[in-house]
Symmetry: C2
Subunit: 243 residues, 2 copies
Amino acid sequence: MRPYLFINDNLVIHILKFSDEIIDALSIDCVIFGFKESELYVLLVKHGIGPTIGQWALPGSWIRYNESIDAAATRILSSQTSVENIYLEQFKTFGDLERFPNRRVITIAYYAFVNIEKFNPKPGPTEADVKWFKVQEIPTMAFDHSQIFESCFNFLQHKIQHEPIGFNLLPPKFTLLQLLELYEAILNQKLDKSNFRKKFLKMNLLVDTKERQKDVSHRAATLYRFDENIYNKLLDKGFIFEV
Amino acid sequence: MRPYLFINDNLVIHILKFSDEIIDALSIDCVIFGFKESELYVLLVKHGIGPTIGQWALPGSWIRYNESIDAAATRILSSQTSVENIYLEQFKTFGDLERFPNRRVITIAYYAFVNIEKFNPKPGPTEADVKWFKVQEIPTMAFDHSQIFESCFNFLQHKIQHEPIGFNLLPPKFTLLQLLELYEAILNQKLDKSNFRKKFLKMNLLVDTKERQKDVSHRAATLYRFDENIYNKLLDKGFIFEV
DNA sequence: GCAAAAGTGTTAGCGATACACCCATGC
DNA sequence: GCATGGGTGTATCGCTAACACTTTTGC
């Protein structure tokens, strides 16, 4: 426990709880997935200061006493990459002794799916660069971030089959082929086009926007959108999402 | 960051990393499930000291600098309940500002399934009592432990249908009816006996031990055991566990 | 014989898979 | 007309759900 806590517990605790001092030995790292032209990407930062300067890593930093861990994740991601207003979800906490060099650091990993077209990432004051990397072409990363990524990607591959989370990676209006290619990219396998269509349409999760693709050199596809309200209503009725 | 880190970073860090001092603002809590006679239980401790004295809670405490979080979970559970040699798995980290009174504490929740007959829980030095509670009869708990439990139980209900984790709750050799009742207790619904049998037997996960129940006043059932090696081999072949 | 649980068999129907085929559009 | 992707139709097969039925054992 912190030495000066003994000065006057109640007072100091109160101050700490609302201070923006960082909590020792605890950090957050974010795995941000993006999707574009049938390829899955992840957002990395290049460190601009400190012992890991010049190395690529997951966006991540320390948690303050006066913020929830969810709020910390949002703040950290925004300050390092300028990516904002996205839904970050907690994934797993990594706490091996040797995961961070010369210090004990436990990190809480978060992930998110974003529509890559919607953001224009910019490095924060402590970052030298920010870049989308294809998931098959990820550089060596600082600390144990490669393991965190692998673990998270594996988790995603399972999750995408049981929960309708992939839509966040697509534009609000998308075609069934885009959705198919998203699943193929994440699961890393070919799927039957016809059966994929039928499966999704039968679920009634997708709403026909009555709009069509434009300026394509083939028959224009119907644009659909995902309706979260419909999904929640179906959930209440016992609906189980499976792909 | 801790004030005395500034004395000499490298030296102090090295000492800290191998010290058993506790990390500030970070704890572990454990949800231990047990099963006996068609009923699902959870293991709770009654606090024997501190501001929450007399209250029931999940087993939990602080993490030391010189132990991994997995090791901390094992140590804490053992010291408070004497339950040892079980496989604890991380569930989720809870980090809202208000979850702990008058102080900022982030907690990493772990869970485990145990064969209730195999343990004889005893309270540790800071616990007044340790007891198995039926999951429908859980008392009011300290902090946000009721929420942690609810969240974990919900997680279990999903997990049990996609991974063969229920076997840890049963004796090494068990009957199909015991397994059925376990699923019924966790999912809180009746299942068809015949179809349940067929589903499980077809998976080839269960090995017939060639032994039978003894001293029962009805036809003696075959005792089966779960074979983890078989499961892993099936997994490699692309097998997916679904109940 | 009766109670209790073990264990088998049967049926109907839904749903996944594989694959063939037609449609619309730009060049 | 041809390439490209959009979109439909269909046959097979396996699996599941529902439920009736038979077997074994102790008392």
